[in-house]
Symmetry: C2
Subunit: 463 residues, 2 copies
């Protein structure tokens, strides 16, 4: 019988040894910073109840949720209700008799569910981080996968802007530890966008304005203006928006221009106050050495509209690569209201791990220490020799050196080739002569040098 | 509108901060040993194609696979084939028009799929480890979950028994690093069970004998004998099996008795040879100090029948807890034949992470260092004070101390209570007096002591 050629589901990936190590370097760096900043780890299951997830991501988002078929549908007592459930699914509705669980789509809703379920036990403000895979039935394309890792850090149960300051410094700390000194942390406040809408004819224009502004980078000012006109904005309103979008200069100059334009509105003045708090804590003389994020006030930053209410963030990769945004986030008013627990405001940001990986790869910034493969291959020259080599290897492992022994007695050539393919830098050879003398030969496979030393010395002094 | 009370799918768990840290302590210990022994990490996706998984776990296992419903079934052009597919599923068959992906059920089959897909690129013997969640629609019960972590280590592409020796020493190294000195590593060979079947009327009796033997612990000798009789074995055959099961004494004595009983058969002699190789490498004078596993030859060990062909392993928790097996594995002949690539034998073992967690918890062996929460809480006494405190905190973080600052100016009581609830051992207080003097107060919250030191000293010398 012909065996099937195995394959992977579309949009999913295997991570081989080198990739796992590089990913872990990034994740461990981020995790280390989170812990240093007093955040606590949380892990939630891959599966959530379908009703926990549905209706939270908009109509388009809901369609991308991977649903899990109930088990045992072929049992006679389940077939009838399963059939009814299936007909509902064909109508685009849900049915717990066909599917009641789904794979999580992001880390935010499961976090909200966790806080709502446990809010009696948690100490607020609750500072948590979460690094886990999520799943989306998106059309796979370059850099977009159906299974990918999210990496979120949030503080909930506090309105204090000090939390925003903390998150800005976390970005700085992670980016510089990864060597991405040229990153930019762009900031804006949703309140300022509200103020702009207010001076342009009312808050019902907020969505129209934001959607158009969001395209500025791609389509340019003229087309943005045309789009605004198409969305029913009047010429003098469009002129205000253009003045707003043309705000430029240093952060201080931008703040000044924005104050002139929207500072007289309540929302505008509060939004500028938020930005000023952040700038005040993190630039000028008020910061510890090396802890000042590369803050860039960017009034064109919008970051979708769904739930942000205050400061918003976006991290741009160093301009030497063309990858763009590698993280973002912002403040939201009500995390857990969806689950019946109100009064839990928060702020959070996330790191785009796959894109950060691509940036570090492109800039060749992965350190050599990422390679944690075998350091020493013990050659296998026969039953007696390999037994002694094994004992010596165990002693060397006891000193922390990563070793392995070639699995069988084989020609030198074959064993050298194995070491070479696996990038193992040293070989230790223990033949009958060394065995009788209590020595071994250490071969530096990179330089091609070798020396003979006592087994005793190697075992106790390590490598 | 009433909000739903959120809940978790049956058999799944949230891991809060303390649990994540304890689990990571175990996983990091295991991972550290794997790396020390020259094994390389692999990660495969949560989802596999359904045809990669189906038919690999027996009829009962297949039923426990979580299948993922195809997306977009409500689109008009998909409805008809979805309906046909659904009818097939009701008959207990599969249909790619309804479901073509599933959550992985173990790490072995995805590993086999990976090796089959990449065998041209891999260097053999390929030593890989894999630590990832798997999913099974089992009936949830104490200690059994629908999402749980597996932790596997395998060498494939080699018949050498040195690999078994390595895996035995890996068990020893992990168990002793975790403080589980009283563990036992029980060993047997499937060849010896085959030899027993051979002297009891032929290899077709192997399954009957193994199923009965597997129950010895639970039902005792008399009932095992009754079961064997019920399965058609003759009195003299049952007598041989009883003699086999009554083999006892030291490892050497057991080997001696087994040799008398089944050593004359080909399978028996080869099985004993395998055990002898392991014992010879790992007990007596032939091992490095502290590296001798607690090997116990156990001829009653069977470990299921599906694919093991040589040495088999099972790890018992220290007898001071009643948890039983916390790991196991063995040699298999043909990992990737199912995927059209033959000639890849291997040997592997796994660690039962959830059970190991329970054992360490029961024996109170989690080290204090597992708690990596915040070490210092900076009190917040107002806008100016907190700004200065923030700068000082950043400097202290720069020395590696895990800090946070209370999110808002509040009464001392409230801030102390927060520190207490979060088990934060130190508070640093920076009031207007300290601000003007360039000092701060460090309070040891456990001992109730405090001292005043210069901010300069704290910033540069750390904590």
């Amino acid at each position: 019988m012909a065996k099937p050629t195995p394959s992977l589901p579309k949009g999913t990936r295997d991570f081989g040894p080198e990739v796992v190590r590089k990913r872990n370097y990034i994740l461990d760096t981020i995790r280390g910073v989170f812990e240093l900043y007093g955040f606590q780890p949380l892990e939630t299951p891959a599966m959530e109840n379908l009703d926990t997830l549905m209706g939270k991501y908009g109509e388009e988002g809901d369609k991308l949720i991977f649903k899990i078929l109930n088990n045992g549908l072929d049992e006679p007592d389940k077939q009838e209700s399963a059939r009814e459930g299936f007909e509902k699914v064909l109508e685009g509705r849900n049915s717990t008799s066909l599917t009641e669980k789904a794979l999580k789509y992001d880390l935010t809703i499961p976090f909200a569910r966790y806080v709502a379920m446990n809010h009696g036990q948690l100490t607020f403000p609750f500072r948590r981080y979460q690094i886990q895979p999520v799943w989306r039935a998106d059309k796979p394309q370059k850099g977009r996968y159906r299974e990918f890792t999210q990496c979120d850090v949030d503080v909930v149960g506090s309105n204090s802007l000090l939390n925003e300051v903390e998150l800005a410094v976390i970005y700085h700390s992670v980016m510089t530890r990864l060597g991405l000194y040229g990153y930019e942390l762009r900031i804006n406040s949703r309140k300022i966008l509200s103020a702009l809408a207010e001076i342009c004819g009312g808050s019902d224009k907020l969505t129209d304005i934001t959607i158009a502004i969001d395209k500025l980078d791609k389509i340019g000012m003229d087309k943005v203006k045309a789009e605004l006109a198409g969305r029913g904005l009047q010429p003098e309103q469009i002129q205000s928006i253009q003045r707003y979008l043309e705000i430029g200069g240093t952060n201080a100059e931008k703040m000044q221009q924005a104050a002139t334009l929207i500072g007289h509105t309540d929302a505008g003045s509060r939004g500028l106050e938020e930005l000023r708090f952040l700038l005040d804590h993190l630039t000028g003389g008020n910061h510890a050495p090396g802890t000042s994020p590369n803050l860039v006030v960017d009034f064109t930053l919008a970051r979708g509209l769904n739930y942000y209410t205050g400061l918003i963030f976006e991290v741009k990769a160093p301009s030497t690569v063309t990858i763009g945004s590698i993280g973002g986030g912002g403040r939201y008013d009500d995390l857990t209201g969806l689950f019946g627990v109100s009064g839990v405001p928060g702020v959070g940001v996330s790191f785009g791990v796959d894109r950060i990986y691509d940036v570090i790869e492109a800039l060749q910034l992965f350190p050599d220490a990422v390679h944690t493969g075998t350091q020493v291959l013990f050659f296998n020259l026969g039953a007696q020799e390999s037994k002694a080599a094994f004992v010596l290897m165990q002693q060397l492992r006891g000193t922390g050196v990563r070793c392995e022994i070639y699995h069988e007695a084989a020609k030198f050539d074959k064993q050298f080739k194995y070491a070479e393919k696996k990038n193992i830098p040293y070989a230790i050879i223990l033949g009958s002569q060394e065995l009788s003398q209590g020595t071994c030969v250490i071969k530096d496979l990179v330089r091609g040098e070798q020396k003979t030393i006592s087994q005793e010395v190697l075992a106790h002094q390590g490598f």
